[in-house]
């Protein structure tokens, strides 16, 4: 059973560009959450998707947007990249509608470097 997968593994962009990161949830999971982990910090919640809609959002600007597809996979889009967007972006999936008691399974992350 494949776990959570993310692509690409690494990505280098320049300031002002746009980037799309992809996530496939664990089999049987219907909820996807995205996190940003800056170097030396804990992950910070960006947003969560369920039934193709953004259900919760953390303190991130509108430059961060996402999408969930009918097969539950998800994309994270970041526009107008800033140097401060350089981080490890983690995707996590869960089932049971992402209820608070459900366990989230994390992917290995995408390392984004903005130059």
């Amino acid at each position: 059973d494949a776990g959570v997968t993310q692509s690409p593994t690494h990505l280098i962009k320049t300031r002002g560009q746009q980037v799309t990161l992809r996530c496939s949830p664990k089999s049987g999971h219907d909820t996807v959450s995205w996190y940003q982990q800056a170097l030396g910090q804990g992950p910070q919640f960006i947003f969560q998707y369920y039934e193709e809609e953004e259900r919760q959002r953390g303190n991130f600007p509108d430059r961060f947007s996402g999408h969930q597809f009918p097969n539950y996979s998800s994309e994270l889009n970041v526009n107008a990249l800033l140097l401060g967007d350089s981080a490890l972006y983690l995707c996590a999936s869960s089932s049971e509608r992402g209820a608070s008691t459900d366990t989230q399974y994390f992917g290995p992350g995408t390392r984004l470097t903005v130059l």
Partner: protein, 115 residues
């Protein structure tokens, strides 16, 4: 404001020695509590979680954690550390809202294990 604090940024222990990693939270009500481990280049792996009931929780890899309401703490322990335990450890909380997951992570404690 709700928060989770890991006071120790870096801890070094000898292989075979006992380990305790501290975690304190500040919430209006007892949240759901988690400990995750992150090895270099890896995503986050859940070690254990506490929702209610017995305040001593057993997890994977020989880890346990004790919830102390009076101290707003959820410290992680292991009786005998192995070299493979070297990693970064994150305490995380989810508000007891009965709703959806919005996980808040601590800043992490990096564990070094020396022979």
């Amino acid at each position: 404001a709700q928060s989770v604090t890991q006071p120790d940024i870096h801890i070094t222990v000898s292989e075979g020695a006992s380990l305790e990693l501290r975690c304190n939270y500040s919430y209006g009500a007892t949240p759901y509590l988690f400990w995750y481990v992150q090895s270099p280049g890896q995503g986050l792996q859940l070690l254990l979680k506490y929702f209610s009931g017995d305040t001593l929780v057993q997890g994977i890899k020989g880890f346990e954690a004790e919830f102390k309401r009076s101290q707003s703490s959820f410290n992680l322990r292991k009786p005998s550390v192995h070299w493979s335990d070297a990693a970064e450890y994150f305490c995380a909380v989810v508000p007891f809202s009965g709703g959806y997951q919005k996980v808040t992570f601590g800043t992490g404690t990096k564990l070094q294990v020396i022979p």
